[in-house]
Symmetry: C2
Amino acid sequence: MKTIRRQNLLAAALAGALAFTTTIAQAADPLPSWNEGAAKQSVLDFVAKVANQGSPDFVPVAERIAAFDNDGTLWAEQPMYFQLAFALDRVKALAPRHPEWKDKEPFASLLRGDLKGALAGGERALLEIVVATHGGMTTGEFEQTVKDWLATARHPKTNRAYTEMVYQPMLELLAYLRANGFKTYIVSGGGIDFMRVFSERVYGIPPEQVVGSSIKVKFALRDGTPVIVRLPEIDFIDDKAGKPVGIHKFIGRRPVAAFGNSDGDLQMLQWTTAGAGARFGLLVHHTDAEREWAYDRNSSIGRLDKALDEAQAKGWTVVDMRRDWKVVFPFEKP
Amino acid sequence: MKTIRRQNLLAAALAGALAFTTTIAQAADPLPSWNEGAAKQSVLDFVAKVANQGSPDFVPVAERIAAFDNDGTLWAEQPMYFQLAFALDRVKALAPRHPEWKDKEPFASLLRGDLKGALAGGERALLEIVVATHGGMTTGEFEQTVKDWLATARHPKTNRAYTEMVYQPMLELLAYLRANGFKTYIVSGGGIDFMRVFSERVYGIPPEQVVGSSIKVKFALRDGTPVIVRLPEIDFIDDKAGKPVGIHKFIGRRPVAAFGNSDGDLQMLQWTTAGAGARFGLLVHHTDAEREWAYDRNSSIGRLDKALDEAQAKGWTVVDMRRDWKVVFPFEKP
């Protein structure tokens, strides 16, 4: 009699606690910075479909892989890719050690403050800048250099740290997917070791879930101490058709959801959404000249043209930043 | 008064449940196939050190990365690497489609059953075999080919499926580390896409935690359907000095523990154990000619020479398979 009573009390207490938790979960909006509308609803519908055991589209937790582009999808990319701003600052910092740069393009133009002239050399000029500023040091030294830069550099328009210029609605989306058993990955044309410095702190994405472009590295013993040295040579470009390649190489299975904002993400969305079962593709359309920037088909940075057409044809979600996002950056929150 | 009593009953019930769980955890040996001794104790001591919050050597869960070699560390590698057996079977299966192989080395020797003659061509011959049997198909087709082979191929000595020839003590070690918050990775000279077919089912290691050697792949649209095609070209060799490179590339942070069995693992153990804080290195020494194989300094497969010397100098654990393992393969279990 006494035993039964104790069990009843325990059961009642547990049931009460469970009911309370469930109420909380239902009441809280997991995407509070998204305005109500088709874009937000498409995310909620997809997650409900794949994460609920009883659903015909149920996807086991192990296969819930979501791939996110970084520049223009998780953080801003105007007026220039943030990593290019890092590279330019490094050119200035390293110039005293490279007197020959005064007469050598693209460095000579850069050091005169003529960015347009420097980049007139096209992809080759850009690669020279990347290789000169990202190679020739150990991985530990590079990590520290990026850390120091992120701590001090400021965005030319907002005067905020670059890591503050992330999209609040996308931070909520990352957290929401993870709360529903997804493993969130970055799959970006940006430098893998550049992003790994801040991805865990800023996005909650650990270094081992970052896929990106890389330069070659080699292992060496220096006075008996093992180091990994960054070489002045490109290893892999994780952009356009390189994105599904990077996904296959690093993740080894096809994501069920992919998120991007430009033609550089087109093949990643094609590869992701062509898999069997429920799939989800989303593009962030930069339509907000006031709170952020407005650009698409004619932009040299983050051009969104072919992918925008294909999104319409294939039913991928297109986020209209101005209309769909209540808040853009975390620092705008009341 | 009534409320207080209810709380007390609840607290007592919960405390009882907790005490019961703790007793279970303490009573069960997490490594039942390991004999008591220095090797087993070193594993238990290391895990206690890094996983207990109060310990001066405590390592946060996010940083608990453990890297395991595969051939000779998680499964056997005699009388030849299992993936080589796969490649040889593929040469036979593909021969009808390649009449030119009858007059072309290393294929001509192979098809006559002369393995030694075929491999006389050294690394170049081996690469030709790998490229001919692993390239020229989509990733989906390759996965299916490996699956079919694993389901039917049998080991020449034990007549068991190759995936049964994994080491029971290492399966327990993998599970024990994961139960203590570790993320377990394979870092192997073997083919990344070959291992990914069985790593989750056999080792509980998902495809995205497998690092290995690779051939190049490219993304393509075939009649509008996205595919990833395997090219007949080596991309990356994840062996020797390539292992720390693979770890840096794929994981992006240094493991705290590494497990290997040959000189091919030396640099991985150097890189892992040179990090700050508590570190753990372990080598499996194949000393059991009866239950498995006995080989080390003079073996062409899995040579263990320099790494054995360095293990003694640096205090890495060396497992004496004959003495330290109660059971070698799961099928031996009573």
